[in-house]
Symmetry: C2
């Protein structure tokens, strides 16, 4: 939320829509959580309600403390080392299903990786022409996703062949 607000004022509703086409691809969250979080940030004094609009709309702005907290999080807080993957977790236990089922599981993962590649391509169009910060840096994140999906596709196809 702080990151998105660093690009300019927005309502919870605005942030929700922006979130869905950008950050949701690397950090899913629900409508409920976004609103709750905005409330907490306002209480904590990291964002302000700058204006009220029709339908109870509240326009939030990030303030100095919020910007400081955002920068602190980016530069001083280490990203978590391990990324959770229940896809990979299942792999450890593939001996518990038949070889056919195990191969089917891995084939499905290869297919999902291919779909993911297409999904990223569709987002690409969205972000392609945009010189705002989110678009510029979102493109870097996009390329990561591309490499990841490609790497996963190759691995899943290889792994499928490993099951005897």
């Amino acid at each position: 939320m702080l990151g998105l607000l660093s690009e300019g004022p927005a309502s919870g509703y605005d942030l929700l829509k922006l979130f869905d086409v950008s950050l949701a691809n690397v950090w899913p969250a629900t409508q409920s959580q976004l609103y709750t979080e905005l409330g907490k940030l306002a209480d904590a004094g990291l964002v302000d309600v700058a204006a009220q609009g029709p339908r109870g709309r509240k326009e939030y702005t990030i303030n100095e403390r919020g910007l400081a907290e955002l920068r602190h999080w980016i530069t001083d807080v280490e990203p978590t080392r391990v990324v959770r993957s229940d896809m990979l977790l299942r792999v450890f236990f593939l001996a518990q299903v038949s070889p056919e089922q195990a191969r089917s599981y891995l084939r499905r993962q290869a297919e999902l990786a291919t779909k993911q590649l297409e999904h990223i391509a569709s987002i690409r169009e969205f972000v392609e022409r945009g010189d705002d910060n989110l678009s510029v840096y979102g493109r870097l994140a996009l390329e990561y996703g591309l490499g990841l999906a490609e790497s996963q596709r190759q691995w899943a196809e290889w792994a499928e062949g490993q099951i005897r």
Copy 2:
């Protein structure tokens, strides 16, 4: 827990140690959570306490219902599509810090990927000679991790060069 117990009876303590050198690399959890979860599984009737040992040791076994649930989870439950990455989340907001700091962040990620490659190599030795199911399938997961870390290293180095 069900997956680990499918390889044979074990105490919470046994599972904890086994967990730390295997599953923890794809799904971190604390000692506290493992014990709590074992208790829940026993209450739910998916595992049984087969024997008691010294120091209050409880040896758990998975039963038919537990095995059925495990297989159901593997074959019928779709892995979550999006994997959370706070590393990638930060990338979206790198415009909020100086170009030097942004490059430094990405360089650090490249270094961490390299370290991760070394870490995986060390686990490899551990798992290398083992014909038990966990070792056999753990090796598949390991190769995934290898590809992922390599992909991340390349991306981070490329991305660093993109910051003007």
